[in-house]
Amino acid sequence: MKMAIQGIGLTAGFGSGIEALRSALQSGRAASVTGNGEQSAFRADVSGLAEFIPKRALRRIDHFSKMTLLGACLALKDADLLDADRSRTGVVIASGYGALKTTFNFLDSYLDFGYSCSSPTHFSNSVHNAAAAHVSIQLKTTAPSLTVTQFEMSVPSALLSAQQWLAEGRVDQVLFGAVDESCDVLTYCREQFFGSGEQGPLQPLTFAEQSAVAGEGAVFFVLNRETDTAPYGFIDGVRMGNYLVRPTILPEGDQLIVGADGHKECGRWYQQLLKGRKVAAYSPLYGSFPAAVGFDLAVAAVSQCDGKLYASPAANGSPAALPTQKLGGEQLSCLKLGPGGDYGLIRLST
């Protein structure tokens, strides 16, 4: 069953809202790497949330959930559904790591002050589905809610379930989101694994080089079963599997947007599987994080809407990069690879 994309909302290093993404795609400029102290990462600004949710209601809500709420509200606004009844709207959220800062804040509470001083607020907000709960509480979505954490495969996996909910008639529409946040501990881990110097530029199609820069953000889609009206086109299907167990066949005629994000190890997997095929990659616009596949999907949807495939930013003349081109009848697919041969393929159509 196809899923119609009725609206998109997002916040990341390039700004907030679909026009911010379109502007970044049109300019072809990678977002500037902004820092907080020693950190380098694409940061999301959540100040726009004040337009949708009273500040009082946000007092105990952490940055991760604020990004989530902002993405969800922007998607509903984009779909002109802010005032609609949401009793049959499901919430599906994919995240590689969940609310990291709050997870560590909770550990701070007992490591610093003893177990009897553990913070109940930090604990309850560190539970992975807290962000989905805030969405359902603030936006009054009483249908099913699902949070999936599958590292690199979080987005295709969660999308598969959103599709089944719609197909089985459990919901009339799904607020589907992908969210991850950056934090100091993650930065430390990245430095230990990849060495310091995540200053950019992120060059995802230079597969053999480590150029990843941590990012964060939230992207949401309003999906439903409409067959006629879909401003951003349709998601035809999701395929997941392991290409080392059973070789996967990539759709031949499709333009591929790959989730390569400047990690040398992952770059090797793309190189092996793509075998010289030209592709597009947009991680320089939002940075490297597991849920960034959701942003790849947003780029694909905007490209369908605009009828053109945008140039891959920071491609630097890479022979792997597809040129800017008008889209004819060809379909777009988003490909994400994970360790051990895992893959997720999301296929779209107009």
Partner: protein, 397 residues
Amino acid sequence: MAGLTPIAITGLGVLSGAGMNLPESMETLFRNERHPHPPFRFSTDHPVSYPVLELREEFKLPLDAGETVYARTSQLALVAALEALTDAGWNVESLRDKRVGVCVGTTVGCALNCDEFYRAYKDEEQPDMKIIERFLRSNPAAVIARQLKLDGPTQTVVNACSSGTDAIGIGASWLRAGVCDIVIAGGADELARVTYAGFSSLMITDPDPCKPFDAERKGLNLGEGAGLLVLESAKVREEKKTRGTLLGYGSASDAHHLTAPHPDGTGLKQALAVAFVAADVTPEQITFINAHGTGTPDNDRVESRVMNDVLPGVPFVSTKGYTGHTLGAAGGIEAAFTVACLQRQEIPASIGFSTADPELLTTPVQENCSVFGDVALSESLAFGGNNAVLIFGRGES
């Protein structure tokens, strides 16, 4: 939503504080025994030592995992998955030409709450990255899929305490959609200092063995374990006898509070309503209920009210007195118990219950008792206001 195609359950695997496999756990349940004790696997400076239900023995992974070390949650999941596959008559090699999905619920298994690493990081002691490497290779669904060399969708559901229940409902939907031929679905969670501290901070942990639905209940006991089911498409199952059938799944959100259920149980009622429609059965057909029954004042009050409203007079049991609250694993373990109890037409006493709460209109079964019928129900309530319900049909074997 109309009635959905029933899904065959061909194998069950359980690892819990009640036993190291399903038969052992069932024996413990029907002997009405439980073994709560202070945690052995970690220590805290908390002034109260809350009892927990840890596994009674150490276990060894039955597969050669080489040098790979997985986090405990994933090890639990793997052991239960192998028991379930064996129960279903599959050996790992025979799965090679099948599309096999894995859908596992957890909480601890996906949280980067490695407090020893973080303490060293805070103290600028250059913590060992092996802890993080282990976390990154220990996503429970991915571990099962990679270790068994499966090709199919994988999903780790992190819906707090309804994760295992949701994972089974989602896995069934993959089969109905033809996404795969077989699904290994359920939940797994290890006991951890972080959740121990967290639930203590919320003041919903009983300093004594827990007492679900009792007038004197003070909260939950944490537990650990895994419960996995093998679900099969009709094409793959052919003539194989079933352990049971998954008839329906429903879920809904309270949209009310981060940690407390809606006082009227609106989300649970909605989840029940959806599950009944999906299963195409009526409340009158339900033989017994495996209740969420954590032993917390709020949960049991709301759940009791809903059961009284929607399923009046239906016998129910909370098995958390035997296993503790295993969080993301609970839905998987309790689904396996429900299917197994339906098969033997008998449910165990709801251990810990002795005094009826005048505020509650229902009481759980106080002795092992026979049940007569073909349909049973398991329900889960969770942080975040998630509510999930599974309805099972009796098996043939």
